[in-house]
C-alpha cells in the first residue's frame, strides 16, 4: 500500500484537510527541485504532486506550460524526475509523492519499467492527464502490482455513471477538476463546488481532492471546508516564474523561503476549520 490512504485516514481522524502543492519537476532548475519539495513540506504540505515535463502539455494553461518549457530547457525527462523522488526520500519517508503528467513519456520508458523504477524511488501515485479509464487498464494494473495508486480525474462534465466507474478503477484519492478549462483558470464558485462534491461523494468512497482555480488562502479555506484535499498548482508555479531563481542559482534559498511562507499561510487558513 502507498502512503496515500494512511495519510487521508490520519487527516480524517484529525478533521484536517490535506494540502497538496504542485510544482513542475526541474523548474526552475533540476538541482532546485528536491530542496523545493522539502520547503513545501516545511510549509505544511501533506503530499507533493510533481509534474513530469512534457513537450505538449495540452491540459495545462500558460503558467504551467511555461514551467514545462523551463524544465525542458534543462532536458528533464521522466528518469530524472524519478531520481528527484529518490533523492527526496533520502530524508523524507513520510510525505506521499505523486506524479502528474502525460502518457507519452511513460510509454517511451515502458510502463512496466516505469512502475518498477517508480516503486524503487518511493513514489506513491501516478495521475496521467490524457489517460482516461477507457485507456488506463494496462498501466493501472502495472501500478497496482507495485503498490502505486493510479489516480484519476473527475471533471464538472463527468456524469454520475462515469463517477461510479472511475471510483472503481481509482485508488488513493480522486482529483476533482473544479473548472472546465486548463490549469491556472480562475473564478471558482465554491457554493456550486460544495453541491457537486456532495453528489460525487454519494457515488464514490475515495477521498476527493480539489484542484484548478485555487490561488490563495481564502479560496483554499473555502474549498477546504468541503474537500478532503486542496491542490494548489499555478499560484505556486507563478511564484517560481516571478522569482530571480529562474536565472540565478544564488536565489534558490530565497525562493524556497517564499514558497514555504506561501504554503504556511494556506496551511493556517485550512486548519482554522478544526477550530471552528
Amino acid at each position: 500500500m502507498s502512503r496515500i490512504s494512511p495519510l487521508f485516514e490520519q487527516l480524517r481522524q484529525q478533521n484536517r484537510t490535506a494540502l497538496i502543492p504542485y510544482i513542475t519537476a526541474g523548474d526552475p532548475h533540476p538541482d532546485a527541485t528536491v530542496g523545493i519539495m522539502h520547503a513545501l513540506v516545511e510549509g505544511g504540505a501533506d503530499m507533493i504532486e510533481l509534474g513530469v515535463p512534457f513537450s505538449d502539455p495540452m491540459a495545462d494553461g500558460p503558467v504551467i506550460a511555461a514551467a514545462h518549457e523551463r524544465a525542458l530547457a534543462h532536458h528533464v525527462g521522466l528518469i530524472h524526475v524519478l531520481d528527484m523522488v529518490k533523492s527526496f526520500r533520502e530524508t523524507n519517508l513520510k510525505t506521499p509523492v505523486i506524479l502528474m503528467g502525460y502518457q507519452n513519456p511513460i510509454e517511451a520508458m515502458g510502463t512496466d519499467r516505469f512502475a518498477e523504477l517508480a516503486q524503487a524511488a518511493g513514489l506513491d501515485g501516478v495521475l496521467t492527464v490524457d489517460l482516461p479509464p477507457e485507456e488506463a487498464e494496462p498501466a493501472s494494473k502495472a501500478y497496482r502490482a507495485v503498490g502505486i495508486d493510479p489516480i484519476f480525474l473527475i471533471a464538472p462534465t463527468t456524469h454520475a455513471e462515469r463517477v461510479r466507474h472511475i471510483a472503481k478503477v481509482a485508488s488513493g484519492f480522486i482529483y476533482y477538476v473544479s473548472l472546465k478549462g486548463v490549469t491556472g483558470a480562475s473564478n471558482l464558485d465554491t457554493d456550486a463546488l460544495a453541491s457537486r462534491l456532495q453528489e460525487i461523494r454519494s457515488d464514490c468512497g475515495l477521498p476527493v481532492g480539489v484542484g484548478f482555480g485555487i490561488r490563495n488562502a481564502e479560496t483554499a479555506a473555502a474549498v477546504g471546508k468541503v474537500a478532503d484535499a486542496v491542490i494548489i498548482g499555478s499560484a505556486l508555479v507563478q511564484l517560481i516564474a516571478d522569482s530571480a531563481a529562474v536565472t540565478n542559482t544564488d536565489n534558490w534559498a530565497t525562493l524556497r523561503q517564499k514558497l514555504q511562507d506561501f504554503m504556511a499561510q494556506i496551511r493556517i487558513a485550512l486548519d482554522k476549520k478544526t477550530q471552528n
Binding site: D56, G77, Y102, P105, A108, D130, E134, P156, V177, K180
Partner: protein
C-alpha cells in the same frame, strides 16, 4: 532508426488478405485500429467526445443529413472534382500520370469536404462557436468558410511560424470573419496549434465544436474525417473505370496528418492489385533528423488523443519537425495510417524538400497547374515510382490542393524578392 519494434504487426491481423479484409469494420468500438487510435484525452473532454460519437453515429444513418452533405459537396464545393490525364508529365516521367484535382474544390483543397461534414454536425448539436487548428491554413480557410456560411463564431489557432509563412491564407481567414490566434508556445507550428485548440475546447466545451482538420485526434475524429474525405476515392475509382476501363496500378498521396491520403486510399483498400503509396515530408532528408516523417522514422506513442507513430526523443518528448510544407509539418500521423503501415497495405516513404520543389515546377511547367507544396510531395513520389512501373501503367496522384498560398515560400526558397 530501423528498430524492429517499429515494424511490429498486430498479431490479430497479421495474416490478412487485402481483397477480403473488412477494412470498414475499423475502427472498433473503442476507436482503435489494431493497437492505434483510441481516446487519450483529459476527463473534462470525455463527455464531449461521447456526445460527438453519438451524434456522428446518428449522422451515418440519417438519410436526410447525408443528402444535405452530398448536396453541399455538389453545389457549394463543386464536386465531383475532375480526374485529369497529365499527358506531358506522363511523357516526362515514364508512366501514365493521372491527377485527382482536389485543388479545384471551393477554397482550393480537399479540406473543405471534412469541414462541410463537421459543420453539419456542429449545427445539429446546437453549438454556436467553431474552433480549428491549421498548419498551411487550408483547413483554417475551409473552417472559416463553413462558419461564415452558418453564421457561427470562428476561432482558428495557427502556429506563429506558420502565420508568418502563410500570410495569404491568414488574410483570407480574417476576410471570412474568423479570428486567427497565433500560437507562440513550443515549436510554433501545427502541433502547438492543436494543443491550443484542445485548451480552448476544454474551457468552452459547452458551446464549442472543435473541427479537427485531419484523421488524427481522439475517436471518433479519425473515423469521421476519413468518412467525410472518402468521397475522393469513391469518385476517383468510378472516374478511373469510366475513363480507362480499369483501376490504376498505383495511387500516391502526401501524408501529414493524412486526411487526403486516407480519403483517396479508402475506396481502394480491397483492390489488392492497386498499390498504395504515402509520401511523408522528408525535409532536409530523413538522415539529417530535420524532417516530418513519423511513419518512416518514428515509433508508436501517444499524442493529441490517439496512439500512433510519432517523432519523439528517448524521453518521449515530441521533437520539432521540419518541412517546406506547413501542412505536412506535424510530428504525428492519423492512427489508421500507422495501422495500414504495419499491415503492409500502404507503403510510406519520405520525399525531401528539394524533391518536392522540383515536382512543384514540373506540375507548373508541364501541366499549367500550381500544386500545393504538400501535393508536390505526392507528385515527387510518383516521379520516383514511374520508372518502376513503365509507360503502360497508371499512377494516380491525389493533387490535394492548389499552391497559390505557397508562392511566397517558393520565391524565398529560390532567393527571389517578390
Amino acid at each position: 532508426m530501423d528498430n524492429p519494434e517499429n515494424r511490429k504487426i498486430n498479431p490479430t491481423i497479421a495474416a490478412f488478405d487485402a481483397a477480403t479484409f473488412n477494412f470498414a469494420q475499423y475502427p472498433d468500438e473503442h476507436g482503435r485500429f489494431g493497437e492505434f487510435g483510441g481516446k487519450y484525452v483529459a476527463e473534462t473532454l470525455m463527455e464531449a467526445i461521447q456526445e460527438l460519437q453519438d451524434a456522428y453515429a446518428k449522422f451515418r444513418n440519417d438519410p436526410e443529413l447525408i443528402r444535405e452533405f452530398e448536396t453541399d459537396l455538389r453545389d457549394y464545393v463543386g464536386r465531383p472534382s475532375a480526374m485529369y490525364y497529365a499527358a506531358r508529365m506522363s511523357e516526362a516521367y515514364g508512366a501514365q500520370i493521372w491527377l485527382k484535382r482536389e485543388d479545384l474544390n471551393h477554397t482550393g483543397a480537399h479540406k473543405i469536404n471534412n469541414a462541410i461534414g463537421q459543420a453539419l454536425l456542429a449545427k445539429r448539436l446546437g453549438k454556436t462557436r467553431i474552433i480549428a487548428e491549421t498548419g498551411a491554413g487550408q483547413h483554417g480557410v475551409a473552417t472559416a468558410t463553413v462558419a461564415a456560411r452558418l453564421g457561427l463564431e470562428c476561432v482558428v489557432y495557427m502556429g506563429s511560424e506558420d502565420v508568418a509563412r502563410q500570410q495569404p491564407n491568414v488574410f483570407r481567414m480574417k476576410l471570412l470573419g474568423a479570428k486567427v490566434v497565433p500560437v507562440e508556445s513550443g515549436t510554433r507550428t501545427l502541433k502547438d496549434a492543436l494543443n491550443e485548440a484542445m485548451r480552448d475546447w476544454v474551457t468552452n466545451v459547452d458551446n464549442t465544436f472543435y473541427i479537427i482538420g485531419t484523421v488524427a485526434g481522439p475517436h471518433p475524429y479519425p473515423q469521421m474525417v476519413r468518412d467525410f474525405q472518402s468521397v475522393i476515392g469513391k469518385e476517383a475509382r468510378a472516374q478511373m473505370l469510366e475513363k480507362t476501363g480499369r483501376l490504376p496500378d498505383a495511387i500516391v498521396a502526401c501524408v501529414g496528418g493524412g486526411s487526403n491520403a486516407i480519403g483517396i486510399f479508402h475506396a481502394f483498400l480491397n483492390d489488392k492489385d492497386v498499390a498504395l503509396y504515402g509520401a511523408e515530408a522528408g525535409g532536409d532528408g530523413v538522415a539529417t533528423g530535420r524532417h516530418a516523417a513519423p511513419l518512416t522514422a518514428g515509433r508508436p506513442g501517444v499524442l493529441h488523443g490517439n496512439r500512433t507513430y510519432l517523432m519523439e526523443d528517448e524521453n518521449g518528448q515530441i521533437i520539432g519537425t521540419h518541412s517546406i510544407s506547413a501542412g505536412l509539418d506535424y510530428p504525428g500521423v492519423g492512427p489508421e495510417h500507422s495501422w495500414l503501415k504495419d499491415l503492409g497495405r500502404v507503403t510510406y516513404d519520405a520525399i525531401t524538400d528539394a524533391e518536392a520543389m522540383s515536382a512543384f515546377h514540373d506540375v507548373m511547367r508541364y501541366e499549367g497547374i500550381i500544386p500545393a507544396l504538400e501535393s508536390a510531395h505526392a507528385v515527387a513520389y510518383a516521379k520516383k515510382l514511374a520508372p518502376q512501373y513503365g509507360k503502360d501503367k497508371i499512377i494516380l496522384v491525389n493533387l490535394s490542393g492548389r499552391g497559390d498560398k505557397d508562392i511566397n515560400t517558393v520565391a524565398k526558397m529560390e532567393g527571389i524578392n517578390l
